[in-house]
Symmetry: C2
Subunit: 207 residues, 2 copies
DNA sequence: GTCTATATTAAGATAGAC
DNA sequence: GTCTATCTTAATATAGAC
């Protein structure tokens, strides 16, 4: 898999322009809201020229979406069963928050797809994603059993990490509206808060 | 405000049917994805008949959206400055989670609107919502200062509560796919988890 | 108030010249 | 590979009879 067909330099460049433009438009408007016209304008190509590279709007969308999925799952995979439990989980939170800050378009595209019922990626969710979550859940349960982290529900821990980190990208308009900000400075406070939140929860009490 | 125009019983009934059908369709498809046809079918009315009650698709959407906003903000307002700080905040989390379970369509409609940049409710966010958040932030800061809750960032605390609770409605497909469930039984575990999470974080240490 | 029929526009996609 | 022109469909909205 992932075998790239040989392409001329101009083909490569145009495909990249299109996919980048498509990410802009799809993440801002959703699949139905986006138009080929908008994408073509953003990619600085004519509409028929764009359709020379991709057979349909759907094809562009699927390509953007699938190219995004691996990046999206990588951080979870990176949790190391040999590392310090609390630092591993906090590191995961930190990486997810960085993704939220540096790739907000990807986050919103993904959010939009899930919100619509995940018609194109339900297989990925019930396949690879679920397997990886199950794997980490088992790890967290071992850590709990050994008293390395407190005994919390590992599924809901993961859901809460996804929710709290992606919130800053997906609900960006609301966050910025309330904080009266246009830049990314608040991500520093967000990180501090989330580190405190999860450290307080994961650190075993008593003993 | 909220002055209802006098209407016949049949008008009342049909308006309600339309608004309920519209909530179904808009929350599942988004504004652009939804069609008047779908709404008309769901409301069991003909398309022209539906347009006899509302002048346009946009008008239906705005009505649904604005009727939702008050309900959405009420729980925050309900936090009582005279109550026990930790129990007040945990109660807020619980009420938000109940909203997520009992009104997932409303949550998804709201999420969709924010995701699109909140074109129709930015005023509400930067007006009433921001004022109420500022108010509760001040309250949380007082509670922190008096040692009633630990010294965390109150803005990010509120964001995290919104994120973790609404996640179960907005990302429902993903949550259910991973938990292999079709019902709402997991909300019990979610509540347990969130109570533990926020109690651990809010309870002042040391002293 | 409700219907059938239809006008109008927007958007996805294709034909065919260059 | 890129363009202009155009086909086709779907969707919003309206006209006008009943």
């Amino acid at each position: 898999m992932n075998v790239e067909k040989p392409r001329t330099r101009i083909q490569q460049k145009n495909r990249e322009r299109i996919l980048n433009a498509a990410l802009d438009v799809f993440s801002a408007e959703g699949f139905r809201g986006a138009t080929i016209d908008q994408i073509a304008i953003a990619a600085e190509l004519s509409k028929p020229n764009l359709l020379y590279y991709f057979p349909s709007k759907e094809a562009i969308y699927t390509e953007v979406l699938s190219s995004l999925l691996t990046t999206w799952l990588d951080p979870l995979q990176a949790i190391d069963s040999q590392g310090d439990p609390i630092e591993e989980i906090l590191g995961y939170v930190r990486r997810k928050l960085e993704l939220s800050r540096d790739f907000p378009r990807e986050s919103r595209l993904f959010a939009n797809e899930i919100l619509r019922g995940a018609p194109r990626i339900l297989d990925q969710i019930e396949g690879p994603l679920r397997r990886m979550v199950d794997d980490k859940v088992a790890l967290f349960q071992n850590w709990s059993r050994d008293g390395k982290i407190s005994p919390i529900d590992p599924f809901h821990l993961i859901f809460s990490i996804w929710a709290t980190t992606q919130h800053y990208a997906d609900f960006s308009v609301q966050v910025r509206g309330i904080l009266r900000t246009n830049d990314d400075a608040h991500y520093v406070d967000a990180e501090d808060f989330l580190m405190t939140l999860y450290r307080a929860t994961l650190t075993p009490r008593g003993n």
